[in-house]
Point group: C2
Chain length 300, copies 2
Amino acid sequence: MMQSSSVLINFEQRMLPLIDETLTTYLDGLAAPVQLRDAMKYSVMAGGKRIRPLLVLATAASCGRRADKAALQVAASLELLHTYSLIHDDLPAMDDDDLRRGKPTNHKKFGEAVAILAGDGLLTAAFDLVSRAELPTVTTTKLVSALARAAGPEGMVAGQTLDVTNTGKKLTLPQLQQVHRGKTGALIKYACYAGAVLSDQSRTVIDLVSEYGAHFGLAFQIYDDILDVTGTQEQLGKAVNKDATAQKNTYPGLLGMAGAKEQLTAAVTAARRCVRQIERVGLDGTLLGEMLRYFEDEVQ
Amino acid sequence: MMQSSSVLINFEQRMLPLIDETLTTYLDGLAAPVQLRDAMKYSVMAGGKRIRPLLVLATAASCGRRADKAALQVAASLELLHTYSLIHDDLPAMDDDDLRRGKPTNHKKFGEAVAILAGDGLLTAAFDLVSRAELPTVTTTKLVSALARAAGPEGMVAGQTLDVTNTGKKLTLPQLQQVHRGKTGALIKYACYAGAVLSDQSRTVIDLVSEYGAHFGLAFQIYDDILDVTGTQEQLGKAVNKDATAQKNTYPGLLGMAGAKEQLTAAVTAARRCVRQIERVGLDGTLLGEMLRYFEDEVQ
């Protein structure tokens, strides 16, 4: 799927084990009831691509900060939060999914009550892990504040609500963009923001990488919509063609496949423009540029 | 129910409108989808007793800090978090309650999907509101860290999990105490901790008021268990005798009514001992002492 360059492959090969180790160490260290910890760990360690933590670390690297313990904790906290959103999203009252990453969804495995609590636990744990990172308190406060905004009722939860409440109603393109900005965009934008804040960058740089993140997030969601139509269950580890069946609002549904790919291309192009600006202010844009290869096979 | 003294009545009369105003201002100011905001506001403004925010402010007052905007935001954030726990707790997959504070529960009113999201939104919003409070960043970081611990998989979510997964099994007293310490104790203990941290108190004072909070929290849960047996639906605004029907582990269920009242008395006595120590280090223990009158009619 991803046509990775050696720079990106090398980066991922170094970072993925560190991210997973940070997650495992954190989860195993929790004095939590066994069933709760098992349920949390089950979904966190189910083999996600770790795109959000990778974006934190790639942005930090572009800004010259290495992936030390604190940076890894901030990166990993985002995966905890992302995983909570998947668990709740899969619940019978929400998208009612049985399969995620090729395995039974959390509520299928642990029951609905424990799945709800595992989600609640992971969401709260994300803030715990950020606050544990040894950082200047001014940095921690910025990160907590931005994370709460990105994940909360003005961000991800807003997107989820609009998605759920508008299923079956046909949205306009601006409305669909609003859903997607919340559902996936806000958290991915935060990932890039966090990488720059971790590195103590200027407002200009923070804004630039956040803008890159916003375009990346939009591209990511359109790509996900496209894969739901073109992918197979084996590739994706989850049921496909669910969006159409569930009358979800998606890019291919609204614009057709060609229109969706056009929008994807536009988002990736806008992100590339940000990379060039990032390089113009003297930072290393290589990794952020490479990460856009993720979408390569669908970009025109 | 509460045999309030004039000091406590006066304090509550001044604080309750300020707490509600802080909550309303925050919720109304959110750029959130209407349905989500309505659902969040519905449960937050359903007429809770605001015990947790009051404890923050009472502890802060004992330590000489007045209820300024930042203190009110920290206090109110706890009500957001508490309300999320009620909404998720009432869900069909959890306690399956139809009535809360005399009104239909959140999912009865808004549907299960929106109720789950309203809970998620409120939990995240609690961290947003704490981080918005104009406080030294070292204070904010302490509060966020302690809140995440108290509310998360080692605290409230742990208690809820133990409660849900042990329903129908008879627990020992130490096991039941563990459930209650998580379910209600952790957040109430945090409330007192927050009041002292807001006031920049020494470790000794912070530990003292936290210990008071731990005893208060235990008393609060035992009292709640007792009311479920002795109260009426009109008094409590929710179904009564639900615990026994649902085979929940409770103090009266485990120890009988006399045994439960004995445990309540012991918890209140221990809290009173903390108040005397708080006074011995030179702080004003009046309000914290008065708040224990909440349990008076059941204390032997």
